[in-house]
Symmetry: C2
Subunit: 193 residues, 2 copies
């Protein structure tokens, strides 16, 4: 049995959240794989960038990382408060604890920034949102990462990526890491990829 | 100003819901386009296939279709109750009312089936989920549509599509129909497509 903690900061993007839910869900429903996702936030109800409110399975204070095999983090817009929670100490501590326990961390778009802020990407290859004159990539470099201009980058058990378009790719990558590439390929096919 | 009604039947898939939210959101945030999305269900809280509960902006009984320019419908899994609401009369009536008013309908995956059940796809080109021995495509044909084996099909102001992989394509198609292809292409670029 594998379980992913899907952490939603205020202002997360639903397109960067939903592939983790559905990719692992199709793996369960169509192939009987025992892989589960639990959603988590600072609060029970979390409102996304663009105003969709989602009920979380649990709040951060109720998380025991021993129950999980990986951490997944969607990005979000600064204007909708993403960094207020993404850079806050309890979430920073959660990221560090997953990494210290040897568990993969999968981030999409600007979710690479809170990972880098913990120091875990110091001198490591990583990427983040690539447009708007590379402002987010510059911030990632200032936080110590070696910025690689590729859509999905993995180093030191940490996956980072560009943008909404990469969200499904990251979810499939995480499925492959946890359950093998053969299953990943079967799920991709069933979902039309 | 343009407004889309995003209708979520019980058991909708979040990957087929989220692109409508984020594609129109990026069009607003990055380009100042006045295009809005309102979520709607039979109930205020709707639980997706694979168990994500989302708070809707309004319930079906509070909808005046004059307030909207298009209807968007994510698909969902039968095992999670999708057809219980998708085939129910009030939602069938909503679909017919949007079409009668000349407003586009954008459906993803098996959401083509409730559209076809209204009779609106009689003799019209359409598609739906293409794998599992074509069981959903056969149902679509039984409901009167001419099944076309392409990922995204448009006929008679109704968009239908294959699967989760086509979700973003359908959202971009709808943006292009409502706000023009030039803006659509700019938004696609900004989101990494």
């Amino acid at each position: 049995m594998k379980k992913i903690l899907l952490f939603c900061c205020k202002g997360f993007e639903v397109m960067e959240f939903s592939p983790f839910i559905d990719v692992m869900g199709w793996a369960r429903s169509d192939f009987g794989e025992k892989i589960f996702v639990e959603t988590c936030g600072y609060t029970k109800m979390v409102t996304s960038t663009f105003g969709v409110t989602v009920e979380m399975d649990r709040t951060l204070d109720k998380v025991d990382i021993q129950d999980y095999d990986a951490l997944a983090i969607p990005g979000g817009f600064e204007e909708y408060g993403f960094y207020e929670e993404a850079y806050d100490t309890p979430f920073q501590d959660l990221i560090k604890a997953f990494h210290a326990a040897g568990k993969p961390i999968a981030s999409i778009c600007v979710a690479a920034l809170p990972v880098a802020k913990t120091g875990l990407l110091d001198g490591r290859n990583a990427t983040t949102y690539h447009l708007n004159n590379g402002i987010r990539q510059k911030q990632l470099a200032q936080l110590g990462a070696v910025v690689v201009n590729e859509p999905v980058v993995e180093d030191n058990n940490i996956i980072t990526s560009y943008c909404p378009e990469t969200a499904a790719k990251v979810a499939f990558r995480l499925l492959g890491k946890l359950c093998g590439e053969e299953l990943r390929d079967k799920v991709m096919y069933k979902m039309g990829y």
